[in-house]
């Protein structure tokens, strides 16, 4: 009888000890924060509208594509200031001026576009001088 009780106690201890492993965190499973470069989830940046605008340099007329993007601040862990940087189709990166982020909508522009061509941007969310995740937004020049 004593042996049986001891076996139950030992089994309970082993179960309790076995449960200890669950407390560990797998860093690769941490993907829910939009400020994390490994973020996986709902898109942070949403397409709002696009337009193709002509502009002139000297006597030559060019077209530029402007894409308006909405920042999904509802995904933020808490209300905060943020910065945005986006990558042009050429690979060049541009910072969005803070003044343009007051209403959580900003515009990405690519110059010298050709009508009918689809151009993709990759904006990234950042804060305190470093950048995390983002998603790709595309627009088509007219």
């Amino acid at each position: 009888m004593k042996f049986t009780k001891g076996a139950y106690v030992l089994f309970a201890c082993l179960v309790a000890l076995g449960a200890c492993k669950k407390a560990e965190i797998d860093p690769e499973e941490l993907t829910t924060n939009p400020f994390d470069k490994d973020y996986v989830g709902e898109a942070i940046f949403g397409f709002v509208s696009e337009r193709t605008v002509s502009y002139q340099i000297d006597t030559t007329t060019f077209l530029k594509l402007e894409v308006d993007v909405q920042v999904n601040t509802a995904l933020f862990p808490k209300p905060t200031n943020y910065i945005v940087q986006y990558e042009l189709p050429s690979g060049q990166t541009l910072d969005v001026p803070l003044a343009d982020l007051q209403d959580d909508v900003f515009t990405m522009t690519v110059l010298e576009v050709a009508p009918g061509i689809r151009y993709c941007f990759h904006p990234r969310l950042g804060n305190n001088g470093s950048y995390g995740s983002g998603n790709t937004i595309c627009g088509t020049a007219e």
Partner: protein, 236 residues
């Protein structure tokens, strides 16, 4: 005629010729403490030196915890001789020492065996503390991740989490080891107590003393008395 002459010579020479000459015998016996001996089955003595008449004398020597040893010594007149001897331990005493050793070992084990359990419990307690801290740290890390709005901090946090996971693993392994030691300690206690619960402190009955204290002659001022020794173990 010759016989008559011899008798006359003996009578005229008197006591000077027949006064017994003595020799001295020094008792160089190990152990010196508590040594007693009986000379010629009559005289029980304890002194270090004895004067005895010339000739062969029988000695029964004894000391506490030792065996009674019988020997004969030839005492030479006007000379001091040494009786060098080491009394062997009695069988009862050797058995007593053996039993006492077992008893002491058992008692020591009974006293020490809880230390294994205490050590295991202390180790387990410390490990639980470390484990709790490591767990709290990881909880803090998870909260920090969920609340952070700084990409650089999140990168650093993920590196820290690797270290904190390592701390957690170490704490958990330490907890396993502490728990195992506690279980072993409990097992050792149960085993030792089970094995030693019948142990009683042995008592030494010096049977050789009883033998030695048998009827002997005790020299005294009035000539001496016959005496008999009886040993009563009062500690029982």
């Amino acid at each position: 005629m010759r016989s008559l002459l011899a008798v006359l010579v003996v009578i005229t020479m008197g006591p000077t010729t027949f006064a017994q000459k003595t020799g001295t015998l020094r008792m160089m016996v190990d152990p010196a403490a508590g040594l007693e001996f009986v000379v010629d089955h009559k005289y029980r003595m304890q002194q270090r030196e004895v004067k005895l008449g010339e000739g062969l004398h029988h000695f029964s020597l004894w000391a506490p915890e030792r065996r009674v040893v019988d020997t004969s010594v030839f005492v030479i007149a006007d000379r001091t001789s040494d009786l060098v001897m080491r009394l062997p331990f009695s069988e009862e005493y050797q058995q007593y020492r053996k039993d006492l050793g077992l008893y002491e070992d058992g008692r020591l084990m009974r006293q020490l065996s809880p230390l294994v359990l205490v050590g295991g419990l202390v180790w387990t307690g410390l490990s639980i503390g470390s484990y709790g801290k490591a767990k709290d740290q990881l909880e803090d890390d998870r909260t920090a991740y969920n609340e952070s709005v700084d990409p650089a901090s999140i990168n650093r946090l993920k590196i820290d989490i690797d270290q904190h996971n390592s701390d957690m693993r170490n704490a958990r392994n330490s907890l396993y080891a502490g728990t195992a030691l506690s279980v072993v300690g409990a097992g050792v206690i149960a085993y030792v107590w089970h094995k030693t619960k019948q142990h009683r402190k042995p008592s030494f009955e010096d049977k050789e003393k009883v033998i030695f204290e048998g009827l002997t002659w005790m020299p005294g001022q009035l000539g001496g008395t016959w005496c008999a020794g009886v040993t009563i173990p009062l500690q029982r």
